[in-house]
Symmetry: C2
Subunit: 260 residues, 2 copies
């Protein structure tokens, strides 16, 4: 099995290193990851500037390719130019910090996996629910387990799995659950400060308003010590509103105004 | 009506200027837009660096606030710190270039409107289907028309309208259609080049593979000279796959492996 590994914390992060070590036991692994941390870059891609690809070594051994771009750039150039053929799977992670509920929207980790799904390659995004997490061994095993499941069962084209693992010792994990994206979101606060020259600047902080209670949501699942597995896709159409908006009769609206 | 206007082409673009001039006829408009072009930045937000807000003048008059961040940053800080209260509507655009099909995923224009939807503010993203478009008057009128519709009918929380207007004289427009996100996507190509020092670099290009034919998709609608209006949301859960994945029995999978 050929696996492309990416992340958004940067190629020198601990999470990607432990993931690669685990996957290498059973698969041929190619690492293409950002040179620098790219958290919260969303699904940005680099079009106005060129990209460079650098050979990256860890402990004296070739580890992978570092790209001076976004996570989505890494997956695109990894598949198109570095691997030159589609891998069987793309795994993005292991991210330091959870990617549940609204965080999915901002996440570079999830966007890398989503780019793979756009390119018709099955993909997993995997995160540990703590920015200061130090143990990635259990999450790496979960990635391995789901890799085997995808190898056996497949995933529909355009779908990726967004996986969140509580930052706990394996024996404290309650189990694994299939979930939906939760509705918890941030109460944003911009701290207003003054720079050494007396000019204002603003720094984003905030509190996550945890409104998810049901265990079938990613946010509540990890809160209750479960590994959360959410299938997500890139069709953003709001079909409920689409059906209801037929009443708006848009096709008549423009004609009516033009006649005025 | 209080309207916050944002874009991704930058506060000095023609599209945002023409939009603001049209909206000012009937509404109180606040402009908060990126200082520099932010195309294809996706839904990135700035957390590792502070933001600065600059008063921006056009033709000697105060035009709005320029932020050295992403489109989503502009909406967040615009609502939280600059307006200090939620506007009745956020409009992002007028974008130079279409935001149909897969382009929605990468779009800074759409992400700005989506950030508004996350903040429970109704929103419109509006684009003209040509990067070199010079006429924005008709698109500005469409934005005005849909603003009135939303004022009268409302939009469900968490939904935004993604609007694409063909780059044509008004009399050549076929009409307006309610659409879904199309499935057309890019065949990416990275051009490999050498810099003046003999080192390789890569530049993203590609061709849009237009596979949408039905007029109820955004891509086919604009191709056939219709204004396209697509309701989109930020729940990325793939509910079809969610239902089918119940067979995977994830809750048993982890237990079975742990017992081994």
């Amino acid at each position: 099995m050929k696996i492309l590994v990416c992340n958004d914390d940067g190629i020198d992060s601990v999470g990607i290193y432990e993931l690669v070590n685990e996957l290498k036991k059973t698969a041929e692994v190619t690492v293409v990851a950002p040179l620098k941390e790219q958290s919260a870059v969303g699904h940005g891609i680099t079009m106005q500037l060129p990209l460079r690809v650098i050979n990256y070594y860890k402990n004296g051994n070739f580890f992978g390719y570092a790209v001076d771009g976004t996570p989505a750039d890494c997956v695109k150039i990894g598949i198109r130019n570095i691997m030159k053929e589609s891998p069987d799977l793309v795994i993005s992670g292991i991210n330091h910090g959870s990617n549940t509920a609204i965080n999915i929207i901002y996440s570079g980790t999830v966007s890398a996996a989503r780019e793979a799904a756009i390119m018709d390659v099955p993909a997993i995004a995997i995160s540990v629910t703590n920015h200061t997490a130090k143990q990635f061994g259990f999450a790496a095993k979960v990635a391995q387990m789901l890799t085997q499941e995808i190898a056996n069962r497949g995933l529909p084209k355009g779908t990726l799995l967004n996986v969140n693992v509580p930052d706990l010792p394996e024996e404290e994990i309650s189990g694994m659950l299939l979930t939906k994206q939760g509705k918890s979101k941030w109460d944003d606060i911009y701290e207003q400060r003054k720079d050494p020259y007396g000019r204002d600047y603003y720094w984003l902080t905030g509190n996550l308003m945890e409104i998810d209670i049901e265990l079938d949501t990613d946010q509540a699942a990890v809160k209750n010590k479960y590994v959360s597995v959410t299938p997500i896709h890139f069709d953003l159409t709001d079909y409920d509103t689409y059906s209801r908006m037929k009443e708006w009769k848009l096709e008549e609206l423009l004609n009516a105004k033009q006649k005025k």
